[in-house]
């Protein structure tokens, strides 16, 4: 038992007192409002007010309406897609930043974070300009004689949503990966080399397991952000590309059906919670021995 743990045991009370304030804040301003919101799923709407008698009619609507389940599946698929693309793009960048950049690392990190300073909407509109039929990408491809006519599926389709969201969430994947990769001591990799592992094997057996917490952190962030997003599909998507976030927002806004909206939130919460639990079970949340 470390001395820190012994010290903790005897000095519990001040620690508990310190925790009361943030816990109280979270409870009052986060847990209770979310709880109130979710209980709306048990009510129904009788124009124009909400009827507060308990009912399961929203659950029935969710199960019966093909629309909601289909859009939910579509959203999960998009979230997985964006997370995988981000992982593939972020890993090399984070690895290079953590292990190959010796001088001016701060500047390199700043450049990673820099896009976050610009508004999310501006980046979405930028993709609209880039990907359109008379946009920069199509003009370039035609000028280079790669294509004869503009490629129309790049905009107002699932591809534009995938590209834009991958780009926008990328810093959120690079940073956690950078943090874990930075912590891997060079001596471990040298030892693996000494024991006969080539770079691929060393990567697979040493780097990847140690990077798991970073992968989970970045992956969860990207996944949850995409699950909730609805601005990218609204501005960049075409017919049949809308995601669950818009349907939920519609219920709280235009359709004025808060109970159904609250009902639609529950599957999203369940999905993300399940992934969190599985990640925890797989040991990805434990701190590695530095």
């Amino acid at each position: 038992m470390s001395t820190a743990r012994v010290a903790l045991r005897s000095n519990r009370r001040p620690l508990l007192l310190l925790l009361i304030l943030p816990v109280a804040w979270m409870t009052v301003f986060y847990l209770i409002p979310i709880g109130v919101l979710l209980t709306h799923a048990l009510f129904s709407v009788k124009y124009p007010k909400i009827d507060h008698h308990l009912t399961l009619v929203n659950f029935q609507t969710f199960v019966d309406t093909e629309l909601y389940i289909r859009v939910l599946v579509r959203t999960v698929v998009m979230a997985v897609g964006v997370t995988l693309c981000d992982l593939l793009l972020a890993f090399p960048v984070a690895f290079w930043l953590a292990r190959r950049v010796r001088r001016n690392r701060e500047i390199a990190l700043f450049l990673v974070i820099f896009p976050l300073w610009s508004s999310y909407l501006i980046r979405i509109f930028a993709w609209k300009t880039l990907l359109g039929t008379s946009g920069i990408l199509n003009s370039f491809l035609q000028w280079a004689h790669v294509t004869n006519a503009p490629i129309s599926f790049l905009l107002y389709s699932k591809w534009s949503i995938l590209i834009a969201l991958t780009h926008i969430w990328l810093p959120f994947m690079i940073l956690p990966l950078y943090t874990v990769l930075d912590r891997i001591p060079e001596s471990l990799l040298e030892a693996a080399n000494d024991l006969g592992a080539g770079s691929v094997a060393a990567f697979r057996t040493v780097v990847l397991p140690l990077a798991k917490p970073g992968i989970v952190a970045g992956g969860l962030t990207t996944f949850s952000l995409t699950m909730g997003d609805y601005i990218a599909p609204t501005l960049l998507g075409g017919p049949g590309d809308q995601m669950i976030g818009k349907l939920i927002a519609d219920q709280f806004g235009v359709a004025n059906n808060w109970p159904l909206g609250a009902m639609l939130i529950i599957p999203v919460l369940l999905i993300i919670s399940t992934i969190l639990l599985l990640a925890n079970r797989a040991g990805a949340m434990e701190r590695t021995a530095g």
Binding site: T65, G238, G240, F252, A255
Partner: protein
């Protein structure tokens, strides 16, 4: 260093006195040793507090004269907004919404506190009234009210319980818009929005209320496209599902459609004359068509929130917009039909004909105006299932 010391100013070197002097004098005195850096700092603080206090005071004065509104695009154009702001010494801050649903959502969720006024189309006021969000209109304070055509004075969409809750200021159809450069012949029917030859270049307004427009294509045509039974709704859903593979995008705001048409992403769509004005401004060639099946349309009124901080100012804006400057301004900026018969008469004859103002009663009756739909949440569901499912 021996320096000739200037004679001290009789007012003295108090912070307030220093704050009033030009900076060169103050720093000269600092160099001379007459005052210390502390004195300069105190003077600057006194200056800072004074200007800060002035700003706070002005802020309060400004807040009393701010009018907040949520509107359709174009209804706060500089042409009529700026003269109003100058004449009444106020600021008009506005949010442009893409659909009436957004306006309703904003008002409902904020209890009417976010905005003083809404430019509500004929389907919206009843929803706002039922939610208890509207203030009654005091027509005695409207100087231009008497000049409205009778049918716009107390129409049923803004009159509830024999009381008036809106000021009707503009109306018009949702037209069939197409790109004159890309088409050899102008389309004549709403079926053009379902035509294979425009595949991948069609757009339509992302608004469940548009179900009424597509209901005009049903056979037999319903008497009232805003009252549809389940079979008719299912039939409209089939039309929308058939249309979906041909649609490039469902537009949300007028500007979005204007840009899509200018960028040649879209060649044909439904829209309003404000949109074609925007396209024309960018050297496009929009063609407006009234299809043979008829059109749906809207009649817009200014409604005032019950929680409005500035009821009188809001009423003044409504009065301005049904007055000669506001009404003529609307015809120029938006291309919409207006409600003030004196203002209409002041326009050239051909412009009056263009804007449907020479025979308002008949022209107005030709348009199937938006109405409150009792089962609107069902419409939202049908629309979402058809366009997104």
């Amino acid at each position: 260093m021996a320096i000739d010391r200037p004679v001290a100013d009789p007012v003295g070197n108090s912070p307030e006195a220093l704050a009033k002097l030009p900076p060169e004098t103050v720093f000269a005195r600092l160099r001379n040793g007459e005052i210390t850096r502390r004195d300069v700092f105190k003077a600057m603080s006194a200056l800072g507090l004074a200007s800060f206090g002035a700003r706070v005071f002005d802020q309060n004065a400004l807040a009393a004269d701010e009018l907040k509104m949520i509107i359709w695009e174009g209804y706060a154009d500089d042409t009529y907004r700026v003269p109003f702001e100058q004449a009444n010494n106020c600021t008009v801050s506005y949010t442009e919404a893409g659909t009436g649903d957004e306006m309703f959502a904003q008002m409902e969720t904020s209890g009417g506190k976010n905005y003083d006024m809404v430019s509500a189309s004929s389907d919206l006021p009843k929803r706002l009234y039922d939610a208890g969000l509207l203030a009654e209109i005091d027509t005695s304070k409207l100087t231009n009210y008497a000049n409205l055509w009778d049918q716009f004075k107390t129409p049923d969409y803004i009159t509830f319980d024999s009381k008036l809750y809106g000021v009707n200021f503009a109306w018009g159809p949702t037209l069939l818009l197409s790109n004159g450069d890309e088409m050899t012949t102008a389309p004549t029917s709403w079926n053009a929005l379902l035509d294979e030859q425009y595949k991948g270049k069609i757009s339509t307004w992302n608004y469940p209320l548009q179900i009424a427009q597509y209901a005009l294509l049903l056979d037999p045509v319903p008497d009232d496209p805003y009252v549809l039974d389940d079979d008719q709704l299912a039939a409209v859903k089939d039309i929308l599902v058939k249309q979906r593979p041909l649609v490039r995008l469902y537009w949300n705001t007028g500007l979005e459609l204007a840009q899509a048409m200018l960028n040649k992403e879209v060649v044909i769509s439904d829209g309003w004359s404000w949109i074609s004005q925007q396209i024309r401004a960018e050297k496009g060639n929009p063609v407006e068509t009234i299809p043979t099946e008829g059109v749906t349309g809207w009649s817009d009124s200014w409604v005032i929130s019950k929680a409005a901080k500035n009821y009188d100012l809001a009423l003044k804006w409504a009065d301005w917009m049904i007055g000669p400057e506001g009404q003529v301004g609307l015809t120029e900026v938006m291309g919409y039909s207006i409600t003030n018969k004196i203002a209409a008469a002041s326009l050239p004859q051909d412009r009056q004909e263009q804007l449907r103002l020479t025979n308002v009663t008949d022209e107005y009756a030709k348009i199937k105006m938006w109405k409150f739909v009792a089962n609107y949440d069902k419409w939202v569901q049908v629309w979402n299932e058809a366009t997104q499912g």
